[in-house]
Symmetry: C2
Subunit: 387 residues, 2 copies
Amino acid sequence: MRPVSIIGVGCTKFGERWDDSLRDLVVETGVAAIEDSGVTGEEIDALYVGNMSGGRFVEQEHIGALIADYAGLSRLHIPSTRVEAACASGGLALRQAFLAVASGYCDIVIAAGVEKMTDVSSGVAADALAAAADREWECFFGATFPALYAMMARLHMRRFGTTRDQLSLVAVKNHHHGCLNPISQYQTEITVEDVLCSPMVADPLHILDCSPITDGAAALVLAPAEIAKKYSDTPIRILASAQASDTLALHDRRDLTTLDATVHAGRSAFQQAGLTPPQIDLAEVHDCFTIAEILAIEDLGFVPKGSGGKAVEDGMTALSGALPVNTSGGLKACGHPVGATGIKQAYEIALQLRGEAGKRQVDEAEFGLAHNVGGSGGTAIVHIFSR
Amino acid sequence: MRPVSIIGVGCTKFGERWDDSLRDLVVETGVAAIEDSGVTGEEIDALYVGNMSGGRFVEQEHIGALIADYAGLSRLHIPSTRVEAACASGGLALRQAFLAVASGYCDIVIAAGVEKMTDVSSGVAADALAAAADREWECFFGATFPALYAMMARLHMRRFGTTRDQLSLVAVKNHHHGCLNPISQYQTEITVEDVLCSPMVADPLHILDCSPITDGAAALVLAPAEIAKKYSDTPIRILASAQASDTLALHDRRDLTTLDATVHAGRSAFQQAGLTPPQIDLAEVHDCFTIAEILAIEDLGFVPKGSGGKAVEDGMTALSGALPVNTSGGLKACGHPVGATGIKQAYEIALQLRGEAGKRQVDEAEFGLAHNVGGSGGTAIVHIFSR
């Protein structure tokens, strides 16, 4: 396997993009990434696109061929592959693209992610998202997606003393970061009191504990590291790419306060990169709910199990902290177009490592980590990047 | 890239499997393939599964993690990836699994495909399948999937003199083959008159020109060729794996009587294998409609453009012909569980090359080809196999 670099990045504005279709979003981000890299269409060997539920959201499958078509590449007949692992579809697209280049099978490969979620009612969207969980053993018995994470939150609070305010502080921090990110869906500061006063979704999770419904797309251009400098002055090296799976349903897990898929993917990624958690300068983790960010920093080994809430309270994960987490605003504030999120995370890390993150720039960031989760932990994907 | 072999195969009975869920089908075929290969769970490095529209058909996405879970592999946290390219999803899963082994990144990899289509009404199924075409430029204007292939058929008849009887003969032949295949959905002989007297779907295509709605699953176990003999006395070598894309909508194509994606994938596959079309002993091609088989044998180079109908009429593609095509019964008679079809094609070729195809065995078959199409040609995938 040979080293791989990111030589171009693109991301749309995230939000309720009423005037834009799925294909508009793909074209916008694809053009941005390709222009950023300077590659030509003829140089592209393959495309991988993450999309969770085009069938439900826009009644369109066959998204791989669609994006090749709308990116103007159909005349070149370039292979284009859609991958899906629920909310980890973007991370999975990046991983497949990485493997295609690392193996030597391809040179220039596009990894993209897209989801257009606001063309359906919120009830349909919630049901489409519930397809990430175990339909037969969870949804049919009334469990919504927030309810699954609410159970994890409740047990984490009871077992480790994690407080309601610590959950809120995750949202407060990520909204603050979102205010510094021009592409983020929410550009508003919130307070701990705002979270507590927002409507209850699934006790103990309020609506401001939950990531929103979002339209958006993101894309990366990958190349072998040995030729990356030809295209970019600031190529970003992908040091590790790891994926792990777990049971779909929570009731089969050994522990509700740990995502074992994250633990396994994280360990494998650190091993591949030859790094340890303290060496990471910033991380984008999968905060689909506030509790999920706390689980993630524990399961990735950044803090001991049970102390994630305290770490947030102590400011460790703030922009000025020892390990800034979700500088993009995370899924919570930047938004969560499910198929695009994993690519957007890598986009944010790449901007930070290139020193192009503007008001939210982390000083002298050298190593960054992106952590993308499918469903309630059935899939986890971890990438580690360096300047 | 290193040589790759198939060391185990499994396939469910295809048909209306009212008593079995998607997960039952996956378990049935997964166990069959793993037992056939003799690998243990601990040896499996990754899974790839093709599934077109679990979200629409059974309201379940995240099919990769689901099958790892139901195959009893979740405790091992093995990476499991769903890929989708409409009706070519199975071929795509095989291709990704092939690349994972060929690149040296993995040793033992499972390639599977599954679709459970009969849990919804036929109207919902037809609409779910229409998501393989261009929703905005075809379906919204009233084009059904059969209507798209009907246009291709009509132009092929006008331009090349292909006859209505030649179309029917594809169905007659494939039903005959289906009668010889214990897993096929239809085990009934039909006549040219039966096809003509069956209800019209989209002129000139009658219902007996169309592949059916089917439940089914299939799986293959892949390994590096150098260790394949350790697991199987009759490993089947994968000589080539090629994929190409095209516009989703027909109106953007240069020619309605050719699938350019097939042409490009076919050429690439023959080049990889170092073979020419006359060297192929049998082929499974994507006969979602009778006209599609005629287009396929032309576009793959087995016969000159325009002469596919004549080749069928002359018996070239019959079991006793120079190039037996769709000995499994094809999509037409064996059935078409869309995500499983590409894997079932490889399963049939593997059985034939192993000499285990029973009543439909092709004598001394050495080289076989499988051709899987997504939608109306937006994706095509071609694999070539040898004993």
